[in-house]
């Protein structure tokens, strides 16, 4: 008994090495960007470059702080985030429904998929003039462009995931006489979840890419507008600050999806090398 209790205590308390590994692993991803930034800062300070077109991190940080203190950064971030949220929501719902329908029904796949694949091949930027004609220069066209960007990876991800669900697992559902609804809820949904989460993350990434395209083409606010403003006024630090803001928000939203999905994917038996 005493030995067992001792073992349990030892198991519960993570060792120093475990703690280091736990906090150290995420920090590994910071080595490259932080190292590159420090190196560039050093090179500019040592006079190897004037840092005019590619400002050093200290100048970018100062521009970032200045934008934040004036409230401009927050305003632009909120506007861009709302556009992405709206476009992502629409693209997500449409992509999921269409992907589920074409993945589940052979008839619908034969009917719809060729057209959707042809539409997917069109460079998204080519839609812009049409969207502006149809929906005007304001929010409608921007959100629609983002929704188109989100739609295709989600659609393809869901359709592909449903089609690749293990037939043998579906047969287990049949052997237990599951209804169609129960089959979807108890077999298909959990089976497609890992691929669905990946398609959501891809879709969101494209959403952030497309919002830049939408805002570059005509916006009076948003991070894309900050980029254009910085270009027109010759403020590279502002451009890089906006890019950094995109990177931070994009990474944060991606992390949120991954974190929300993680508890539902604990069962996965994937390849992980420490």
């Amino acid at each position: 008994m005493t030995i067992a209790a001792g073992q349990a205590t030892a198991e519960q308390r993570p060792s120093r090495r475990d703690r280091l590994a736990r906090y150290g692993r995420p920090a590994l991803g910071l080595i490259l960007p932080v190292g590159a930034a420090l190196l560039w800062e050093l090179l500019v300070r040592m006079g190897f470059s004037d840092g005019r077109l590619v400002p050093p991190p200290s100048v970018i940080f100062a521009a970032f702080v200045e934008l934040a203190q004036s409230g401009e950064l927050q305003r632009h971030v909120v506007v861009t985030s709302l556009r992405v949220a709206a476009g992502f929501g629409i693209g997500l719902v449409a992509g999921t429904l269409m992907g589920a329908a074409t993945g589940y029904s052979t008839l619908l796949r034969r009917l719809l998929d060729p057209t959707l694949q042809a539409l997917r091949a069109i460079p998204s930027i080519a839609w812009v003039p049409l969207f502006i004609l149809w929906l005007g220069i304001f929010e409608g066209s921007k959100i629609t462009l983002i929704a188109v960007g989100v739609f295709f990876p989600v659609y393809l991800g869901v359709m592909g995931a449903i089609m690749s669900v293990d037939r043998k697992l579906v047969e287990v559902g049949r052997a237990f006489r599951l209804s169609d609804t129960a089959m979807v809820r108890r077999i298909l949904l959990p089976a497609v979840l890992p691929a669905y989460v990946i398609s959501l993350r891809s879709g969101l990434g494209l959403g952030w890419m497309f919002v830049v395209a939408a805002e570059l083409l005509g916006a009076s606010e948003g991070l894309g507008y900050l980029l254009i403003d910085g270009q027109q006024l010759g403020k590279p630090a502002q451009i890089v600050a906006a890019i950094v803001a995109f990177a931070i928000i994009g990474k944060t939203t991606d992390w949120i999806i991954a974190a929300v999905a993680a508890p539902f994917l604990r069962w996965e038996d994937g390849f992980v090398r420490n």
């Binding site: 287990v172 052997a175 237990f176």
Partner: protein, 173 residues
């Protein structure tokens, strides 16, 4: 009573897997179908289990035709086919989800106990050995208390010692 009358199965590619099989299985009777690989054993079990319809003849359980999976017929496949997103206890209780929770827990616990895996109720299928997976699959088939239990070589992929152990175990159930 499970009755097969001149059951035949011809696949769309022309392969004739079953030919005029007639068989009666009385309640409590254990029947072993023996034959080489590809001779149609699985096809026969899938037909009896209602997963594949025979192209000729008929199958009936207590006089009622079996044309789709039947509530009184359970099946254990060659592979465990455990659902990886469900813990062992949830896999075992998969077929009785509509029952009250307390009854479900009781029956799952009883079935796991019978296959000697009470201590594995909370683990994921990926954490089990091959033999343990098959025992869980058997427990899952036992829980709905079906009248007939079809075993499609569930131990074929296991090593000889585990196979003998599980066969003995199954006969004791």
């Amino acid at each position: 009573m499970l009755s097969l009358k001149r059951v035949g199965k011809t696949y769309p590619n022309g392969v004739r897997a079953l030919d005029a099989i007639t068989l009666d299985v009385a309640p409590g009777e254990i029947v072993a179908v023996i034959g080489g690989s590809g001779c149609g054993k699985s096809t026969l079990l899938r037909a009896v289990g209602g997963l594949d319809a025979p192209t000729q003849g008929s199958i009936a359980l207590d006089g009622a035709p079996v044309t789709k999976p039947h509530e009184k017929i359970g099946i254990v496949f060659q592979e465990s086919r455990l659902l990886p997103w469900l813990r062992v206890a949830d896999n075992v209780g998969f077929g009785i989800e509509g029952r009250p929770k307390s009854e479900r827990q009781k029956r799952v616990s009883f079935a796991l106990d019978r296959v000697g895996l009470s201590d594995k109720a909370g683990v994921w299928p990926r954490e089990l050995s091959g033999g343990q997976e098959q025992r869980v699959a058997i427990a899952r088939a036992l829980v709905p208390r079906t009248q007939e239990l079809l075993l499609d070589e569930p131990f074929s992929a296991l090593d000889a010692f585990t196979r003998v152990d599980l066969q003995d175990h199954l006969l004791n159930l």
